[in-house]
């Protein structure tokens, strides 16, 4: 069971970068106005950011990382490890993290690799980074997370198009002797892999001419096999059955009563899911900040993005007890409980 703690690491800084280009779901004329209003009311997703053609996830992460490294006054030669968590890589081959090592001007002694997870990716990325750093042999790491999801969603598919926004983030994590432990609880359920997937383009269904054929799956849902498919009901039921119990288990393993937590930062899936989870855990509304209404579902960027956007001043000025929780595509999920101590938070970057 993946319930464990890691000592001697801390988050030193966070930065996030968004495209300036804003789409409003009220203008999504593929569906009738009434349906748009019901969608916005239920999912909470009113606006979202969409990257211009040609901009990649690594571009957004690169900008966030450059600003963060500067504000932390980190010497680039001291960065030992770089992890890029994303499902939207620059090329099929090679992996993007290695390109970022060079682009950021990091040493050739830097360890770099990609982790292709989505909504749960920030928590997994933190856990991997913590594991590398906790022994003190490697000292400093940059974790980049995010996705450009909008490129994979068909305009003619109402079940995916209005949900996602684009974003990239960078988090600085370092070895820090005697820091408070980070408690993790991670899980996977591959039996639900189809619930969020792109059928063609990998080796199981190699890309072919028919991959581009658009088909009507249901009214208002026309897409091809290289575009994202999403089963809302399955995701919803998965989230409600796994997430609350995962968090309860995490907090009881770390002897932390739920009332003592200052903030719960959830992956921004949609308002109905997030509110249902909050109600099941009986957490007060003001302890669960959200950005879903203005940025949409930003995959593995949603947790650090919400931290920067909603509780930046508190993160910078005082100690906080946080629970972060990511869940979704895979199916994959995880939560972490830890104390922060004055994190450097760059102002939200828009390009």
């Amino acid at each position: 069971m993946a319930l464990f703690q890691i000592k001697n690491t801390k988050i030193s800084g966070i930065a996030a970068c968004l495209p300036k280009n804003e789409y409003c779901n009220r203008d999504y004329t593929w569906i009738p106005l009434e349906e748009r209003e019901l969608f916005i009311k239920t999912t909470g997703i009113e606006k979202r950011r969409v990257a211009e053609k040609g901009v990649t996830t690594s571009d957004l992460c690169f900008i966030a990382a450059e600003k963060l490294i500067k504000e932390l006054s980190w010497n680039k030669n001291e960065i030992d490890i770089l992890i890029f968590v994303s499902q939207s890589r620059d090329y099929l081959i090679p992996c993007t993290s290695v390109i970022l090592q060079d682009r950021l001007g990091l040493s050739k002694r830097t360890l770099a690799f990609d982790v292709p997870l989505g909504c749960s990716g920030y928590i997994y990325g933190m856990a991997i980074m913590d594991n590398f750093l906790s022994s003190g042999i490697l000292k400093k790491g940059i974790l980049m997370t995010g996705d450009i999801s909008t490129i994979n969603c068909a305009y003619t598919d109402k079940s995916t198009y209005p949900l996602f926004g684009d974003a990239g983030t960078a988090t600085a994590i370092e070895y820090s002797e005697n820091s408070n432990a980070h408690y993790y609880n991670l899980g996977s359920d591959g039996s639900g892999w189809e619930a969020i997937s792109v059928p063609d383009g990998g080796l199981r269904n190699y890309v072919s001419k028919s991959s581009l054929d658009e088909r009507e799956i249901a009214p208002g849902m026309i897409r091809s096999n290289i575009q994202l498919q999403l089963n809302g009901i399955d995701i919803f039921n998965f989230s409600l059955s796994e997430v609350p119990s995962n968090i309860t288990e995490l907090l009881s393993s770390s002897d932390k009563p739920i009332e003592k937590i200052d903030y719960f930062i959830f992956h921004q899936a949609n308002m109905l899911i997030n509110e249902s989870i909050r109600k099941k855990l009986k957490i007060q509304k003001e302890k669960v900040p959200f950005t879903i209404h203005k940025f949409g579902n930003t995959s593995s960027a949603s947790i650090p993005l919400t931290m920067i956007s909603e509780i930046r001043n508190e993160l910078m000025s005082k100690e906080l007890e946080l629970v972060l929780c990511g869940f979704g595509v895979g199916l994959s999920w995880g939560s972490v409980y830890f104390k922060t101590d004055k994190i450097v938070c760059s102002e939200l970057i828009e390009i």
């Binding site: 019901l38 039921n237 409600l240 109905l272």
Partner: protein, 79 residues
């Protein structure tokens, strides 16, 4: 155990399209609210947060009337 009247009241609160006091146990759900994926999710969310019961896609297909949903809840709550 909740009564069907209490369950109907909760449903009427959840769906703006339903005029309070008009829903009956024999009402056909698809005629009372426009049946789309968003409304399906609202129903699942309500039943899960209120009764800790998960309605899956099969359940949704089998449901016709308000009483059908109530019977599913009743059966799973007494298990």
């Amino acid at each position: 155990m909740i009564t069907i009247e209490e369950f109907i009241q909760k449903l009427e609160l959840e769906f703006d399209a339903i005029t309070p006091g008009t829903l009956k146990p024999e009402s056909v759900l698809r005629e009372s609210v426009e049946w789309n994926s968003v409304n399906a999710l609202i129903l699942i969310a309500m039943i899960n947060t209120e009764y800790d019961i998960i309605l899956n896609a099969e359940d949704l297909k089998s449901i016709v009337t308000v009483n059908d949903i109530y019977q599913i809840i009743k059966m799973r709550m007494t298990k």
